[in-house]
Amino acid sequence: MTTEKERRFVGQRRGQLIFALAFLLVSVILLSLIGEQTRWVNKTKFFAQPRFWPAVSLGLMVLFGALHLRRLPWWKNTRYDWWEVRKWAAVLEYAGWFMAYVILVPVIGYLPVTLVFVPALSWRMGYRSRQMLWISAVFAVLVVILFKGLLSVKIPGGMIYEYLPGALRSFFILYL
C-alpha cells in the first residue's frame, strides 16, 4: 500500500534511489580528492584560500545528498528503477547524433552536414513523408543562412571547401 510519505513525494518513484545514490557517491569521491586537486596557500586568509569554495560546495553536496537519500521513502531498487535507467541510457543515441554532427561540420562544412543531418534525424524519428523531408531540408538551409550568413556566428568552413575554385571557395567559407 502507498504510504503518506510516498504519496506526498514530488515526482515519479522510478530512478529516484539510483540518482540519489549516484549523486552522493560522486560528491563523496570529489570531496575525497580535495587535497590532491586543490592547494592550501600559506600566509593567505582562510576565506581567500583556493580550497575554501570547493570545500564548501562539496561539503554541502555531500550533506544535502545524504539527507535527500535518508529522506527518500524507498530503500530498495525494483526492476522499474532499472527500466528507468535504460530510458536514461536511450538518450545517449541522440547525444551520439549530436556529437557526429559536431565532428562532421569542420570537415564537410556547415551547410552540407546540416542538409543531411536534419532530414536524416527526421527519418530516424519516423517522418517518412516527402513533405516532412522537404520541410526538414528547408529548415536546414534557413538555419545556415540565418546564423552563418546573416548573424555571422563563428562556425568554421569545412575542410572540403578548400578544394572549391577561387571566389566560390571564399563565399562558402564565409557564408555557408
Partner: protein, 539 residues
Amino acid sequence: MDLLISAIEILMRWDVALALLAGSVGGVLIGAIPGVGPAVAIAILLPATFSMDPIVGLTVLLGIYGSSMYGGAIPAILINTPGTAVNALTTYDGYPMTARGEPRRALSLAYSASFFGGIFSVICLILFAPVLAKIAPMFGSREIFLAALLGLLLVVVAHRGQALIAGGLAAFGIFLQTIGLEPVKYSQRYTFGSDFLGGGINLIVVVLGLFALSQAFVLLTDEDEKIRLTKLRGGMFQGLRELGRHPRVASVSAAFGVLMGMIPGVGEFTAQFMSYTYAQRTSKRPQDFGRGSSEGLIAAETANNAVPAAAMVPLLALGIPGEALTAMMLSVFYVHNVVPGPGLFQNQMDFVVALYLALLVLNVLVLVFLLFATRSLIQVVRIPNRFLGVCILTLSFVGVYSLRNSAADCVMAAVFGVLGYILKRLSMPSVPIVLGMVLGGIMEVKLRAGMARVKEPLDFIDRPVAFILFLIIIVVLAIHVRRVLLDRKEVKEAEWQTKNSSTRFGRLMLRRRNSFLKDRGKVVRARHSKLLRRLTGLF
C-alpha cells in the same frame, strides 16, 4: 526629463528597432510552441548576441523573455497545454472558456491582461529607478555577498518538498564554477591535469545542455500528439473593455508581479499564486474560478507578465540574477564589459531606462501583432513534438559550437543535456545548478573582498543594509525549518490517521503494548506474514 531623452536617443537606431521586432515576434512564436519556451530560445541565441551591441543583444533577449508569456497563453487557452511553464495557471480558466465556445474572449482577455501587467511594471520601475539609484550604492562587497546568498537560499527553499536536492544541486553549481584556474593564487582546482578544464566550465555550455539539449532529448523520446484547434471568429478587442471592468484585480496582480519579480529566486509562480488566491478570495463569484472565470484569467496573466521587467532590477542594480533567464542575460553584460551593479545605476542610468523603454515599446508591438495575427499564429502549435526536438538539437549546435569552436564544449553540453534529461524525468529542478554557478562566482569574489577589512565576525554585518539582509536570511531559514517540521508532523498524523494521539515513538509503543505482549498478537502477526509470503510468491 534629460534622462528620458538620452534613453530615447539610445533606442533611436535601426538595429535596436529590428531587435525589438525580432524579439517580440520571435518571443510570441517561441512561447506559442509548447515544449520550447524562452529558456531554450535564449540559451540558443546567447552566443549570436555577443557580436551585437549590448543594447541590441539585450533587447532581443528581453523581447523573447517578455513576449513569450503572451504567446504561451495561446496553447494554454486553446488546447489546454501551457506554451511556457508560467502559463500553467492560465489553463485553469482559459481552457474552460474555450470549451464553452468563448476562445476569442479568453485570448483577447489574456492579451489585454498581459499587456496591462507588462506596462504597469515598466512604468513602476521607471518611476522607481531614481530611488534604486540611491539605494544601490549602499551595497558594498559584503551586502552583495549577503544578497547573493539570500537569492540562492530563496531558490532552494522555493522548491517545496525538494529543498534538500535543490540545495545539493545549487552546491553542485557552486562547485562547477570553482573548476579551473583560480584567478588570485593561480592554482588549478579540479582540472585533473587537463587543459580543457583549466579554462573552467563555461556557463553557456551548461545552460545550453541543461535547457536546450535536455529539452530536445525529452521531445525526441516523446510521442507526437494529435491536436484539434478551435476556429476563431470575430475581432480580438473585447478583452480590453472587459479588463476595464476589473481594475482592482488587474492592479493588485500587477503589483504582486512587480514585488515578487524583484525578489531573487521567487518569480512568476509565487506572483501568480498570490494574485490568483487574492482574486478568488475577494471575488463576488469565487465558485467560477477554475471554471472559466475572467478574473482568474486576468490575475494569472497580469501577474506573470509583470515579472520580466521587475526581474531585471536585482540584475541591473546589484548584478545578482534572480532566476535562470536573467542569469543567462548576465553573460551578455560580461561579454561587453558592462558590469551590472551599483555602478551601472550611478554612471549609466540612461542605459537602464533605455532597457525599460524598450520593454514598454515591446509590449505595445506584441499586443498589436497578436490582435491582428493570432489566427495565423495558432497554426504553430501543430508542429509535431519529435520534429521540434530535431530542430532544437540542430539549433543547439549553433549555440555551443559558435562559442569557441570547441568539440570539448559540445561533449560537455551533451553531458549536461543528459543530466538535464534525467532531472526532468525525476521532476527535479535544474535552475539551482545555473544559479549556483552564477551566484557562487559572485559570492566567492565578494566574500574575499568583504573579509579583507573584517577583524571580528560581527564586523561583517555592522552596516545597516548588511544587517537587514542577514536578518532576512535568518527569518527565511527559520520559516523554512518551521514549515519542514509542520509538514513532517502532518505526514505522521496522516499516516496514523489519528490526530488526537501523540505521534511520539514512546507513546506509539505504549499504545501497541498489548499487541506485542499477548499471544493473540503473535498469532495475528504470524498469519499476516504467512499471507505476505504467499502473495510475494505469486510474483
